[in-house]
Every structure is written in C-alpha cells, then in structure tokens.
Amino acid sequence: MNVISRDASNYAYVNARVKSRRAVLFDEDDYRTLMRMGTSEIARFLEESEYEAEVNDLGSRFSGVDLVEYALNRNLAKHFDDLLQWSQGTLRDLLVRYFRKFDAWNVKTALRGVYADTDPAEIEQDFIRAGELDDDTLSVLAEADEVRTVVDALSETLFGDALDDAYGEYEETNSLVPLENAVDLAFYDRLLKQVQGTSAGTREFVKFLQADIDFRNVRNAVRLARSGANLDPAEYYIEGGRLFEPSELDALADNWNELVARLRDSHYGNELADELDELDEAGSLIAFEHALDAALLSYSKHLSHVFPLSVCPVLGYVLAKEREVDNVRAIARGREVGLTEEEIEEELVIL
C-alpha cells in the first residue's frame, strides 16, 4: 500500500490508552530495586508487575535470565500488537510502517544467528513478533543453514533487493556489516519515501523520523570513527535527516565537542539542554550512545506534549517501552555475570 489512507484516525482513544500504559512503566525506584536482586528474584518481581501473564506462561519452560528475556520480548510484542489493533486510519498506517523496524530487527537477528550457527530454536525465541513478517517466514529464516537462504527467503519483502545487492560484498568480506546496513537503509528508505508528500496528518511523524535518523547517523558515525576500521562513513549514512550531510558528519565524528555543539545549535538544542550536557561529559563510547538514547527519548517525549493528538505520543511510548525492556534485560544479564550495581547503572537509560 503506497498511499496513506485519509480516513479518520482515533488519536484520542489510542493516546488515552497509551498514556495510561506509559504511566505504569518502571521508574527509577523500580530499577534500583531490580538492581539489588538476583535473576530469579527479578523474574518474581516481573511476575507481580505488568509482565505477569508472560512470566506465568513461560515459567514452566524457562528459568532465570532466559525467562526474563523471553517474557520481556513477548510482552513487548503484545503491547505493540495492541496498538495496531486499537488504531484506525492514518494512525494505523503510520504505525504499521514504523513497526517494520521489528522486521528489520528480526532479519538482523536471523542473519547473525545463521552466521554464527546458532540453534534455530534460540534464534526464534529472540525474534520480536511485532512486525509484518509472519510466523512461517520467521521459521524459515531461523532454520536456514546459510546466509544465502535467509537472503532468498526475503526476496519478496522490502529488504529483498537491498540484501541481494549487498550479498556480493558479504561474500567478499565475509562480514555481516554490509547486509545489516542494507536492512537498515531499506527500512528507512521505504519509510520516508512513502510518507513524504502527504499532508498535515503525517508531518509530526516525519519530524519524529527525522530525529530518529539524525541520532542514528550520529551514532553510526561515532562508532565508525571509534572502531578504527577503515570504512567509509558515507556508505552508512541514512538519507532523510535534517541535520547533517554525509561529508560533514564524517568530519564531526572524530570530534565529540563539535558534534555536541552542532546538536546544541540545532532545533534539538532547546529541548535537550540537559541531555546534551551529559553528552558533553560522556567519557566512553557506551556512555555517549546512552546519552544519545536518552536525548532521543526526551525529544520524543517533548513531541508527545507538543502534539498530543498525533502519532507522536504513540511513538514516544513505543520508544519508552523498548527502553524499559532493554533496561530490565541489561539488569538481568548484568546480575547474571556478576556486574556491580554501578556498572549496571551505567548500562541503563532512565528517563
């Protein structure tokens, strides 16, 4: 479907439900409690929270950190399915398009799993079933015995052409980076092309996406600059952001201070003063990336307040929910491998 439908959206209904769900997300105190717990205690904590149904369902088959992880993924998929079920009209169209990012995530999971020769059952459990790829396709992806099979299985999807083009490079380098990059580019390219040129209802969605792309470009550039690998940042540049040109980003990636100054001067500057201070102080790449995450989350929150009857609050909630799942997963994993509370806290993005 290439045309955004023009019938009425039920923003008021969906946003009321989303606000209510956002209110029960874990807060700083919950995270502090979780950080003091062992993995089985974390599972029990989740059982008494939002995640009750999933933990009970999976409790007989898994335990410890596996249980936590699978329950988190399943709960995430359930919430996002709910969003699609409630929403109508333009709102639904935009959400369907945005949720293809989980298809991108699943494709990357399959590629990595098959590349590393992981057990198909384990790959399947890592999928987040909130996108458009159906269960049959996902099973085929998980059970593939080589990367080519995954690429072929996706030939009819939006990732097909991009993966096909990148496969040659994968064979040359034996690295998954070109394929993963092709997946991301295909997702954003399709998303923006379909949304552009449409009217007022989608303007806020475009704004949100542009922020997402800008921050992703910053992250990719900084990662490339830090990795020391001799890769061309222009190849990883995602079109559609408002802030950077590929050449400019290349120069800024080496110099965090200038990068932050540039963000501060941009339209993100006003809302993100605190987060940008954190970015300024970030010593490590991980801290920098987390500060970027926090900045994007904060910007999405800002958009939700400025445009309450639009798709923005819903997308803000999607980001916040993803962040919660990441945080709980990081705590459970961290506790399992015996990290200290301070070390785990560095891994979290709390807003």
């Binding site: 039920n10 008021a12 209904y13 009321a16 439900r17 606000k19 769900r21 009857l309």
Partner: protein, 92 residues
Amino acid sequence: MFEFVIAFVNAIAPLLNNAALAPAELTGNIATAGAALGVGVAALGAGVAEGGIGAAAVGALAEDEEFFGNAILFTVLPETLVILAIVVIFII
C-alpha cells in the same frame, strides 16, 4: 447536527407561513430564529467536543476502571455550552 437542523426549521417555518406580518411580530420571529440557531450551533460544538473527549474517556476506562467518575465528568462538561445557549432563549 440533527438538532441544529430541527431547531432552524422550527424557527423559520412560522415566518414562511405568515406572509403578511406586523413589523413587531416579524422582529420577534427573527429573534426566535436567531436564538434557535444559537442553540443549534452550541449543540453542534458540544457534540464535536464530546466526541473526542468520549473516545479518550473510553480509552482510559479500558485501561483502568477507576477513571469512571472523571471520565463521565469530562465527557459531559461541554454540555454546559448548550445549557448556556438555552439560557439565551429565555433572555430575549
């Protein structure tokens, strides 16, 4: 919308039926028509407002039944517009 149309027709009908009216009577009828129009438009506005609020209220209720009191209160709040408009009828 429907209320608006009915109110308008009710107000206009006597005007059309009595071709030869005294000037004072004509002024009175026009005033009634205006008041009816006011009530109709106010009802239309209230309806539009209640549509959005009602949808949000039902959404909130679906998540948590404790919102019931607030949901009812906010849903009927725009109805005050219509009551104020009806007051105008008695004033003119």
